[in-house]
């Protein structure tokens, strides 16, 4: 099993990965995830590392039944850094455990390079896991931990030693190879766990919130380290996290999950700029929600009227038909304050100013009664200063507003 590292290293350097285009990602997958008919046509046949098809996972029996995963379908491409993002209890870890083989789906298929692995026990799957608790073997040294998978695969001793040396170098742990795992720090344990999971050259590496036990600075370091390792090894990473910032900075694509369903799959930019649902917009980053009424629609853009009678052009996701009373979503950084209320699309009173160092948040109590936050990047030449209590207007960048499903 496994493709030699040397061959794979070249892969991430390809100019663009086929099928990574925003359109395909943002539009097809969410619909598919929600579809119940289970008919899935892979957009890149043979290019998917993992295909999850109509997977359900129910825990408990009778009245205590809980559907941890509710008919989830998703394709994860080769060499991709794919993140499952969602609040705790959304089913992301369950999905990871199904791919690893620690649990078995109630219904549905999990394909690894086209082969259904759902019924296979974990030790027959060319997939390795980095556990949240690292799960290093306490009675073995760092080197023995890293070599364990290869040893279990029955590799010759010389090959194991060479690979372990290579892995120790990859995670910069050569000096500590003879230490017990209890004698190294948390960050070092993390590296050993990574090296141990990468050593058998899995087709897919699963990472279950691996950075959550590290402090802020170490976490930032490891984020970069993980990206580097993914590029150097060319292995598909499936990363589980509840940290939206981590997901946005590290992933090629993100699947946002909630209550056992995948709500949206897309690039970080897709997810942030074109959230498919209100939950996604709310979970990722800060967002303003404003009520409005749809006046007309044309080519994916709706004209929406605010309570103040001002109108704004707002995009909306494909397959969604907004009518009547809707909620508009506007990111705080896509809006701007103007000191002359007459120049603003909407108007209000400045109720609070919060200084964050890199930027400032202006809290505006709109004339309609809602609260609205405008984020302004601080610079040395900020022309206007505002005072709380001042009447202000708010302008919007083009494409700032979107109408979303509630």
């Amino acid at each position: 099993m496994g493709i030699a590292f040397e061959n794979q290293v070249a892969a991430p350097q390809l100019p663009s990965r086929p099928g990574c285009g925003d359109n395909q990602t943002g539009t097809h997958l969410p619909k598919r995830a929600g579809s119940l008919n289970g008919v899935i046509v892979p957009e890149q046949p043979g290019k998917n590392a993992i295909e999850v098809r109509g997977v359900r996972k129910v825990f408990g029996t009778g009245e205590n039944q809980v559907a941890a995963l509710d008919t989830v379908s998703v394709s994860i491409r080769e060499n991709e850094f794919f993140t499952l993002l969602g609040p705790s209890g959304c089913g992301k870890t369950t999905l990871l455990r199904l791919i690893a083989g620690f649990d078995f789906p109630t219904a549905g298929e999990i394909l690894l390079h086209g082969q259904d692995i759902a019924p296979l026990p974990p030790f027959k799957r060319p997939v390795n896991t980095v556990f949240q608790s690292y799960a290093l073997f306490p009675h073995m040294t760092v080197a023995q931990n890293i070599g364990f998978g290869l040893e279990m695969l029955g590799k010759p001793k010389a090959e194991i030693e060479a690979r372990v040396a290579q892995m120790l170098k990859l995670v910069k742990m050569e000096a500590l190879k003879a230490r017990r795992t209890s004698q190294i720090s948390g960050g070092q344990q993390q590296r050993v766990a990574l090296a141990r999971a990468l050593a058998p050259q899995p087709k897919v590496l699963l990472l279950d919130e691996p950075l959550s036990a590290l402090d802020y600075k170490l976490r930032k370091e490891m984020q970069i380290e993980l990206k580097r390792l993914q590029h150097e090894t060319g292995i598909t990473f499936i990363f589980v996290t509840h940290d939206q910032e981590e997901a946005l900075t590290m992933s090629d694509r993100i699947a946002v999950m909630s209550a056992g369903k995948i709500l949206q799959v897309g690039t970080p930019r897709d997810i942030y700029d074109r959230p498919a649902e209100r939950f996604v917009a709310d979970f990722i980053g800060e967002t303003n929600f404003l009520p409005g009424t749809v006046l007309s629609k044309q080519a994916g853009v709706a004209t929406v009227k605010f309570a103040s009678n001002a109108t704004i052009a707002a995009g909306y996701p494909e397959g969604f038909d907004p009518t009547g009373e809707v909620t508009l979503v506007i990111r705080p950084e896509h809006a701007d304050l103007v000191s002359d209320p007459a120049k603003g699309t909407i108007t209000g009173t400045l109720s609070n100013i919060v200084y964050f160092g890199t930027d400032t948040h202006y809290h505006v109590k709109l004339d309609g009664g809602e609260n609205f936050i405008v984020r302004h990047q601080n610079s040395r030449s900020s022309p206007v200063t505002y005072e709380t209590g001042a009447k202000v207007g708010i302008q919007f960048e083009e494409g700032a507003a979107r109408v979303l499903k509630d």
Binding site: F102, F131, M152
Partner: protein, 270 residues
């Protein structure tokens, strides 16, 4: 010092006195027994002087040798067999999907701890008498080994089970994830991590078997005298400090095993 004081039982009036009385009642008789094993006189109640002579007498005593040999054969065999049974039982009850009757099985395994020993002794005796009568079967010292094995199992089971329950199941998942078959995962991960529990269980089983009197007294046939039985037989005759010497040896062996068990348990807690 300004911290508000927490209720401390040591501050209660009389606590110290009661504690000291308890310790004295527990240990003074044992200390007297040990001290008189060094008595140069031949009475266990009248002190004359210091000698190690009674230990010499004991070591030359053929009956003591035979009893010690019997005890070791029974204890060692019972310890090995009961520890293996207890290990298998503990794995079968912690590393499986919950099954109907799991709680009942736990009860059944631990029941011998609660049944009065004399009841177990009488029951075992009647059982062996029954199969001897019905099938003409008598396993000789095997009867004693069998009886000891059975009552040792719950003692060996407890620490092994505790160790298994404390163990992080993710480690076994990680082994399976790294291509270890269930057998390899057990051999390479679970078993090595279980060793302190097994050692601790075996030490307990050994001590329980080594010290047993009631069941042994009823089940033992001629020529199957163990050390506790030998001591019992001796004190029905005029006693010499030789019996103190033998008792002290027995006590020291017990202390050794309990200490080993304790040290292993403490090391695993780290």
């Amino acid at each position: 010092m300004a911290e508000p004081r927490v209720m401390d039982i040591k501050d209660q009036p009389g606590f110290r006195t009661i504690a000291i009385i308890c310790l004295l009642v527990l240990y003074v008789p044992v200390l007297i027994l040990m001290v008189f094993s060094l008595n140069s006189g031949s009475l266990v109640t009248h002190w004359e002087g210091v000698t190690l002579g009674w230990y010499g007498t004991a070591f030359l005593n053929e009956e003591f040798h035979a009893a010690a040999r019997n005890t070791l054969i029974i204890s060692v065999t019972a310890t090995i067999v009961s520890t293996i049974c207890a290990t298998l039982a503990a794995i079968g009850m912690t590393r499986v999907k919950p099954w109907r009757g799991l709680a009942a099985a736990f009860m059944v395994i631990n029941l011998p701890l609660m049944v009065p020993e004399i009841i177990t002794a009488v029951a075992t005796l009647s059982f062996f008498a029954l199969i001897a009568g019905a099938f003409g079967l008598n396993f000789g010292i095997g009867n004693l080994i069998l009886a000891h094995t059975v009552f040792c199992i719950p003692f060996a089971y407890m620490p092994i089970r505790a160790r298994l329950e404390d163990m992080d199941l993710t480690l076994e998942n990680a082994a399976a994830d790294l291509y270890a078959t269930p057998w390899n995962a057990f051999k390479r991960i679970t078993l090595p991590l279980l060793v302190p529990g097994i050692m601790s269980g075996a030490a307990l089983a050994f001590i329980v078997s080594f010290d047993d009197f009631t069941i042994t007294q009823l089940v033992a046939g001629p020529g199957q005298t163990t050390l506790p039985l030998y001591i019992w037989n001796q004190i029905r005759r005029p006693m010499t400090p030789e019996i103190n010497a033998i008792s002290t040896i027995l006590l020291l062996v017990s202390i050794l095993f309990v200490s080993v068990s304790f040290l292993i348990a403490r090391r695993r807690a780290k």
